[in-house]
């Protein structure tokens, strides 16, 4: 669907994106992760033609984006950061005007259907300036999918939303992905959100790719921490060595031991079996590995 090959973007002496290559497949929900200034927004803006790459190539549906023709944008919808719409115009008219620009057929009925889908139909006649940020973001999603694009680019769509708003936004995005069969690229600071939504992801730091791949494999194949509550620490070290894990900390709490181990996710069943075989009772297993931990670790190594 989309491929970036060795993309670089310099602002004067500052290198915002450096040698970035990535591939988004059809049907993906592709997560963009990285701390502030990692180059996420710059990359997404380069895909949309808002920012011109210093060098490198972008391919969309197999065709090279040359920076002059913008016809490829008819198949891309986007919501970049905050959804800024025309404030003195109603939600319905905003969508109708933007839909007209994209020559959307059956525009009026499509606009009303979309407003219902994003929960704004009752407020369709209200001017956008009266909307909360959450409502604006939902309207932003509506304008992004109005012309039925193949690819939807969402740059931090949950920014500025309260927790309920974030959940609503997440559900809406997942619904769009499933029901409309749209490939989605989403960047977010809310890492758990990416973990919940994306099937593939990239982590950027200082404009460079740290890692790219399947979310599940990135989460499970790497070292993680597991907290256990066990009855004894007898022979713990030798057991851990056999399973290629290491002890991070041991603390006695009441009659039990709280142990933190560094290990792989796949080794957990073997570890529990080994403990049982050695007469160590396991009362609690808490894998504390999260994408956030992985992300912090990955970006701090660049």
């Amino acid at each position: 669907m989309l491929e970036l090959q060795n993309i670089n973007k310099n602002f004067g002496d500052f290198s915002a994106v450096e040698g970035l290559s990535l591939k988004v497949n059809k049907g993906d929900v592709y997560g963009f992760l990285g701390p502030n200034g990692a180059g996420k927004s710059t990359t997404l803006r380069m895909i949309l033609g808002l920012i011109k790459p210093t060098s490198g190539e972008i391919f969309f549906k197999g065709n090279k984006i040359d920076g002059k023709s913008k016809s490829y944008l008819k198949d891309i919808g986007s919501l970049i950061e905050r959804a800024e719409m025309y404030e003195s115009i109603s939600a319905q008219d905003n969508l109708r005007l933007l839909g007209k620009l994209s020559n959307v057929p059956n525009l009026n009925s499509k606009v009303d259907d979309l407003l219902k889908e994003v929960g704004l139909f009752d407020r369709r006649k209200s001017k956008v300036k009266t909307f909360s940020q959450g409502m604006k973001q939902r309207l932003g999603i509506a304008q992004a999918v109005l012309h039925e694009p193949n690819l939807l680019i969402l740059d931090e769509p949950s920014n500025g939303l309260d927790p309920q708003g974030q959940i609503d936004m997440r559900n809406l995005i997942m619904k769009i992905n499933k029901e409309r069969d749209i490939t989605i690229i989403i960047s977010s600071h809310i890492l758990s959100e990416i973990e919940l939504m994306a099937n593939r992801m990239i982590i950027l730091s200082n404009g460079k790719k740290v890692v790219e791949g399947e979310v599940q494999s990135l989460l499970t194949e790497n070292d993680m921490k597991v907290k256990l509550k066990i009855s004894s620490v007898l022979n713990l070290e030798s057991l851990c060595n056999k399973l290629n894990s290491s002890i991070v900390s041991i603390e006695k709490v009441d009659e039990l031991y709280e142990v933190e181990l560094q290990m792989t996710f796949q080794a957990i069943p073997d570890l529990i079996a080994a403990f049982n075989a050695n007469g160590i009772n396991v009362f609690q297993v808490n894998p504390i590995r999260s994408l956030e931990e992985y992300y912090i670790k990955a970006t701090s190594n660049v």
């Binding site: 803006r45 949309l48 033609g49 808002l50 920012i51 011109k52 002059k68 023709s69 913008k70 016809s71 490829y72 944008l73 008819k74 891309i76 986007s78 970049i80 950061e81 905050r82 800024e84 719409m85 025309y86 404030e87 003195s88 115009i89 005007l97 933007l98 007209k100 620009l101 994209s102 020559n103 304008q143």
Partner: protein, 278 residues
Amino acid sequence: MYNLIQFELVKIFRKPRTYISFLVVFLIIIAFFFGMYYEGEKLISFVTQNLEANFQLEGKIINVYLLSYLLMNILWIHIPILICLVTGDLIAGEASKGTLRLIMTRPYSRFQIYLSKYIAGFIYTIMLILFMFLLSFGLGALLFGEGDLIVIRKLINIFSSDDVIWRFAYAYGFGILSMLVVASLSFMISSFTKNAIGPIVGTIAILIGLNVITALGMSLLSPIAPYLFNVHFAKWQYFFDFDIEWNKLYQAIIVQLVYIFLFFFIGFYNFNKKDIHT
């Protein structure tokens, strides 16, 4: 392209600030007519007292044509500010509000987007001046009626009422061209800045600066003075001479057209290469 122009026009005419310009023109004309209705005779007799010593003046001196002529002199000073309010906002205002990317991510080239905004800005400018034309003539005819037009220029020119309409039409046409230069200038500045204040202040500063320089008649500038756009703004008055200096008017039209294209291309060059961060 038609969709883009329509889109830009809807945005312009849905913004309250657009109507500030029309309101200001309306208020100035009303205030001027109100003053002339009650104090006009006194004011005009002060101006024409020397004439009355040698000539017998008959008919209505204060009529729609005289007032429209006087209004044109007054309003050309204020109109540029009112034009900048909207044309200066077309790119910079959208950039500051973050809505520029809404259009830039549609399947239109930057040239199409830039040109559509330019055309929409021109349409607004022309509409504002036509509004001034219609209001001053409509209301003036209603309140003061017709009559001959007396214009004091190098000579005292007296035009019969059937000889003035075409002169006003040409003068307004020329005035529209001058105001399109202003619109182009503020639009060009708008492509360089990220807030709408910049183009307004920038355009007014350039106009005032050029007017001061040319008014002072700096000898160093005299060779280039005919090529400055501001010196041609007042040449609509040439249409109220019996011997119209067409050559000077053609030169003024060409200079102003060159500036319109120059501002267009400088602005587009910048707009085309700029990165949209907002």
